[in-house]
Each structure stands twice: as structure tokens, then as C-alpha cells.
Subunit: 333 residues, 3 copies
Amino acid sequence: MFLKNYWYAAALPGELGERPLARTICGEPVVLFRTEGGTFAALADRCAHRAAPLSLGTVRGESIECGYHGLRFGPGGACVKIPGQDSAGAAGPAVRAYPLVQRWNWLWIWLGDPALANPDTIPALSWFDNAAWTPFQLYFHVQANWQLFSDNLLDLSHVSFTHAKSIGSPEVSEIPLKTWVEGDRVFNRREMRGVTPGPFVADWGGFTGRIDRISSTEWSPPANLAIEARFADASNEIVVMVVNPITPETETSTHLWMGWARNFRLDDAAFTARARQENEQVLHEDIVVIEGQQSRLGADSAFRPYSIKADAGLVQARRIVARLLQAEASNAA
Amino acid sequence: MFLKNYWYAAALPGELGERPLARTICGEPVVLFRTEGGTFAALADRCAHRAAPLSLGTVRGESIECGYHGLRFGPGGACVKIPGQDSAGAAGPAVRAYPLVQRWNWLWIWLGDPALANPDTIPALSWFDNAAWTPFQLYFHVQANWQLFSDNLLDLSHVSFTHAKSIGSPEVSEIPLKTWVEGDRVFNRREMRGVTPGPFVADWGGFTGRIDRISSTEWSPPANLAIEARFADASNEIVVMVVNPITPETETSTHLWMGWARNFRLDDAAFTARARQENEQVLHEDIVVIEGQQSRLGADSAFRPYSIKADAGLVQARRIVARLLQAEASNAA
Amino acid sequence: MFLKNYWYAAALPGELGERPLARTICGEPVVLFRTEGGTFAALADRCAHRAAPLSLGTVRGESIECGYHGLRFGPGGACVKIPGQDSAGAAGPAVRAYPLVQRWNWLWIWLGDPALANPDTIPALSWFDNAAWTPFQLYFHVQANWQLFSDNLLDLSHVSFTHAKSIGSPEVSEIPLKTWVEGDRVFNRREMRGVTPGPFVADWGGFTGRIDRISSTEWSPPANLAIEARFADASNEIVVMVVNPITPETETSTHLWMGWARNFRLDDAAFTARARQENEQVLHEDIVVIEGQQSRLGADSAFRPYSIKADAGLVQARRIVARLLQAEASNAA
């Protein structure tokens, strides 16, 4: 089940060049494209005529032309041309159009009731449009349910184990986590004093010994995470903002986005390249475990998790999601 | 659902060498083979003993020997040898045999009631056995329902879009189509005067400017298409016969045959090789779109197509198929 | 359906090095590992905390540590450490542990009632721990139901056909088989005098002409086979013991083990290497046919086999399995 009345990250603007992009979001096949005039648009990826994917077609001016029989649809979903006959106009065929907004260098799609689509509710990720920060963005296609990645990021004790060779500090999992809820948001905070940085972290900050490490996590529904990670020794402090908009593809697959912004070495392109590569490795360490979880959960529907102290945040977030899903179902009925 | 009391193209004779050939047709696994005496035969591809595929076996004289325990079956399906015991004769095991006829350089199989199998009802494709024409044949394995390819060939307006870079004329889709029905057959005709030939067509006829282009299509059930394509300018006229016997493999996959015969450059082997390659490209342009359609239709059973003028022929053909399926179901009940 | 109160070959001891091993057995995902102290253990491959596969974790002393959040479980399944909190002890989380015994250079797992797990009922394969014999072991992963391989080995008439180019004698299938049952065991014996050895057999014994060939097969449930193969001419006799513990992975896939022990050329390592390679070829000849059977049986649940004389042994074995499955179901109810 998916929450529908929320914005989901759908693509990076740079993914939409001359070719349309096909992407399934919350089980719905969507075509994303940019018109020649520069408008970003999202339509159902299924021609109203005979169901050919519009994503196999071509952008023509302000519309997308089906690659099969040439029907054209505008960003609003109306058919603007049927070859061989008068265009059907208002009574003609149409495909569903989805609100799509560009913000913080992501394109955000709204799959629910269009009347409720308010861009002000897009998660605030200002570090990705701010000269004081140097950002990059990564995309991963994961064969697992979307909530498993929320769980992952709401319990960073896993960095001691899953990321022992990259960003982990062995002490993380033993240091208590503070968790609290504000409205529909869940917050975690862990202050780690005098811990060993993992090799990647040591390199980022030029740390040669133990450091203080403070992680502050904010989760908002359906599955948006923002983590402020502070690393400091006596002579240096660096801050990394890691954000993860998580977008369901299907019940068992996920579009996982990572945004990584730093407040140091701002103009060091070689460092950016290295940090990209390192974070790809980190995420792949997660993906192996999470796809393994999905495989085990899919094979045993009777499994009930055993909760430990470190689960406090993710248990809260799952309760909120369950309540919001219930509310959307009630509203629909 | 499949029509059973019809001939389907099953293989090219040249596909049956020393090895038997496994091919699933209308959901039934079939083994096709040529006996040492030259008889072509089609049997259920499942040994009566313990279900091993006979296609893994070996042709022995006038029978096929199972590669597991050595039972042999003749072209009529009767077991003619059981190792280690007297042959079972009339009361022994047998596998289903299917009528199989060689005509027009295809092998045609009959999956329905054998008493109704009349070779005179095999589609007449005389261009493939006629010295006035130079033919070649292509085979494609497509992940889509068989009727989607009938649809494709009954609405050639798609050549303007799907084949824009190969055989399309941009004007095709704007020129009205004449459609009529005779019994269980559907006919289309489109006369295009002074149109731009696609690059392949220009090369075939040596055309340097605009041409007249006349396409005449005949569809007969279940899914046999014959298209006469005439291309002419003031100094030259060429004719190509394109035939497509379409054979269901499963509900969502298809054996697509193409026969292509020309009345020009009859002995030009290099031209044949080039035309083969070009038509493979053309069909792959179709296959991408049609497999996309299948994917979208498979994911959304509620989809209802929106009919446009160009659909006139395919709508008629689908009505005839629906009526014939109903008739076969009634006869079976 | 699987028999549960039996020992199944789960792994070779050499497969468990520093890394745990994931293997699904009778539909249950299992992690196999060796502790630092040398104990072999088998646990459900699903952390009690949040279902991550323990096989992605790490052996730590006498326990396995989950690679996600670091919970540790001992060979008996109890959780011995939860990071960040007191270990839960007896009331804490646990995963299912399976009895696991090393014998004859295999690890044997018991999936049924642990109270019934008696190592004395492990099949006696003494040739694999006996200086008078030189053994090797092979593993194959097969996409077919486990009983199809029992069938295969209980009717060696197939060697005339499936293995015609490797170990077959063309006469095998024509020579009668003697079959008898003792309790839950099935025995086959075929004495073949003056037959042609297949090329591999001729090489093994240095045979230049016809040989006597005596095959004695013992099957015990669920699917353990031991075949004594004697090959002799006037000047030489060699004996090969071929054993096949067969372990279901799922209903349609199987872990197939082969043990091959000889009483000749005991110290000839080059011969061992060649015989390994030859037996891999032989088994692959079987696997092609058996996966073909599975494919045909899976597509046609109405298929009923036609029994021939050579089936006498496998029919008895299938009756015993059916009776034992019934008994286990009755006991469970």
C-alpha cells in the first residue's frame, strides 16, 4: 500500500533530455518529459488509443507524440492531434496527467487527488540549492519494499556492522539513541563522543584520531529522511547533510534517492568524485542487506519482528504510516 | 484464447535438419522433426512414458527415440518400440500427433479436430513458390499477444511514426484508408499519390523523388496477413508482397513470420541480403512498440482502447476473431 | 511435499570456511556456518530482529553476528548479544536451530522434530571415509523436483540412451532388471554379460573388448541412492561406488550430490581429476533431460505416466515415499 497524497521524488531534471523517461511510481507507469519550451510534464505512460507506452514516443513542441500511430498529448493530458482526422478536442481521448514540480533539483510528482497538490508541502531540502553547500545526487533501483529503507535510516546503529569498512564507527550501536515525535515527524539524535571514525569519514575530515560524531535525523511521511551528520576533532568540524527521498516503484521495489551536501572543500571536484563513489559503495552495502530482508519477508508472511531499543524511531514512523494509510483509505471510502 | 481449427505456420522446412525442433504453439509443446525418409511430423513434445521432451531425443529411421529411456514413436504418434519388452502395439502408449503439411515453404500445423484438417484451407501464398518472384522468410519471437501483431498490420498508418527512419512515408497516416469485409476476411486499401518514400523504399526502387504508393492488405483468420505494396514513379514500378502468418506461442508470446517476395532484381543476391537486414530492422521497430503495449495491457486489465478512424480494419478483424472463438467454444460444448 | 524426519545432505564441510553459507532446504532458508571453535551449526537464515539473512553476517567466536544490527546467535539459536542493551537471555529473541552432524564427509541436517534426530539413521556411506577407496564429491543445482532424480537412478536403462556417449552400454536397456523391497528400502540388480562398455568405462578399466557389468542399487528414503558398479573382463575387475544423497531445495529445485569412490588407481590424482570431469558430464546429460521433464510436468498437471517394465524399482520407491508422507501428515495432525 502506498500513501498517495504526498509528493514523491520522480526524477532529476537532468534525466529528461531529448528522450522521454519511463518510470513506474507507486505501481503506476508514468512518462516524464520536458517540452521544447522547457515545461516538465508527467503523464500515464499508456497511450489512450491502444496502450502503447508514450515513453517510446517523441517530444514535439509542447506535446508528446506516440511512437505507434502518432497521437499527441499535451502536458495536461489532453489529446491535441489524431493523425488522419480532426483532433478530438475536449471530448477526445486523454491520458491522466500528474502534477509535477521542480524543486531542490528534483522533480516531485503527486499521484493523489490533484486538488490537494500543494507545492509548499514538498520536503524542504534547501542544501541542494544553496551556495554554502556543495551537493551531489545519486539514484539506486532497489528490489525491496520502500519502508525497509526508512527503517534502515531511522536506526543508524547498523553503521557499526553494515558499514564497518566504510563510514561506520564500531561504537555507534552501543550509544543510546534519543527519539521523539512532533506531529507526523519522527526525530532521532545520537551524540557519540570520542569514537573511531570509519575510513571514509577519517579521510573527509582529515581526522587522525578519535572524533565526536553527532547524527540528527528527521523523518517525514511517506519516507523522506534528512540526516545532519557532524564530525569533529579538536581542530576541525565538518557537516554533511544526507537526504533520502524514497519513492515506491512497486510493493517490492523502490527508487532510492540520495542527496549528499557538504559544507567543506566546496570547490574540490576531485573530492566530489571520490565522495560520490564512496557513497555508492555505502548504499550498496545497505542494498545487499535490505534486498536480503525483502527476500526473507516475502517467503514468510508470518514473520513478526522482535523489537530492540534501537528500533524506537522506526517503530514510531511505521505507526504514523499505518495511521495515514488508514486515513487515506477512510477518505476514499 | 486461441482458434484451433486453423492452420498455423509452425516452422520453415529448413529448420528441421538432423535434430528435432521444440516449439510451443497455442500453449502446447510440440516436437517437429523430419524422418530419415523425409516425412515431416509433429508430435506432443512429452514422452508418454515419463514426460521427457521428445525434442531432446534422436530421429531413428521413421521414428523419434526418446533421449531418456529409448521409447520410439512414429509420425502418427504410436509407440513402435519399448526397450526391454515387447512393443506395446495398438494398446501401448502413444503421444498426440498433429497434422503437418508443407506448403509455400512453410510447415503448417493443425491443432484442432484432425477430421477437419483440410490442406486446401492453408493460406494461399503462391509468391513463395513462383519463379517470377524472389522471396525470403524471417522469423521473430515476440513477447506479446498474437492479436497485437494483426492490429499492427491492419493499420499501416503506424509506418509514418514507428518506421519513420526505414520504410515510412510521413504522409501515410493522413491519407484515408478504405476498409471492407468479405465473409471472414478483412481488406484494407490505401492509395497514396506523390508521397515521400522512406530511405529503404527509395533505395529499393531507385526513386529520387516523390512516388505513388498503394498498399492492399488482406487479413484472414486467425491472423494471416498478405500486403501487396506497389511503389512507382514515372519511370519504374516495383511490387513487394509481404505476408505475415502469425502463430500464438502463449497468450503473451508469439511466433511472428515474415515472408517478403519481390518482382524486381530477381537474381540480385546482395540485394536480398540487404533487404533481409532492412526488414529485420523494420520488424524490430514494431516489436519494441508491441511488447510495450503488451506490458501496459498486462498491467491494467481495465484499459479500454479509444478507437480512431484508422482502426476500422482491425476492429473488423477482432470482431471476426471473437465470433469464431465463440463458435469454436459452442461446438466444443 | 517433503519428508521432514530424515537426514538430508546439507553441505560439504569444506564449503564452510570463514563465510557462512546460505542454502534453502525443503523450502526453508538455512544458514550453515562453522564457529571459530570448529562447531558446525545450522540456523534459520532470518534474523529474529528484522529478518535480515544471517548468512550475510560474520562468524564471531562461537556465534554468528547479523550483518545489519549486530545481534549474535549461538549454534543453539539463542541470541547471545543485542548491541546497545543487555542481552535478552532466555526470554530474548531466538532463531530456529537445526541438528547438524558431520559424517562421511557430508554435513547432514534434520528439519523435522529434533527429539527424533538420531545420527545412527544417517545413510551409511563408509566408502567416503575408508583408505581402501579413493573418493570425490560433486554438487549440482538442478531445476527439477527431487523425486525425478530418484526415478532416474532407479532405472539405469537410461544409460543406453542418455549416456550413450559417456558411460552407457547399448545393451543395458534390453537386459532385465531384478527388483525387490526390504522394509522401506528398494533394491535393483542388473547383471550384464559380455556388453560393450561406454568410452569412459573402457578407459577406467583399460578394457579393450566386451565386459561383464553388474549394477546393484539400494534406495532408501527420502532419496538416498547407493550404486555398486562392477566392471570386469578376463584380466581386470574394477568397482565404483556411486552414491547420491538428494536434497530438495523447493518443490521444483534440488541439491544433487554425487559421491564417487573407486577401489583402483587409488593414488592417481590425474585420474581423479579426469573422473571428476567425466562424471560432471554424465550428470549434466541427466540434468538436461530431467529439467525437461520438470518443464513438461509443470505445464500439464493432468499427465499420467505410462509404466514399463524398467519402472519396477521407481514405482516401489514412489509408493514408499507416498506412504511415509502420509504417516508424517497423520502424526502431525
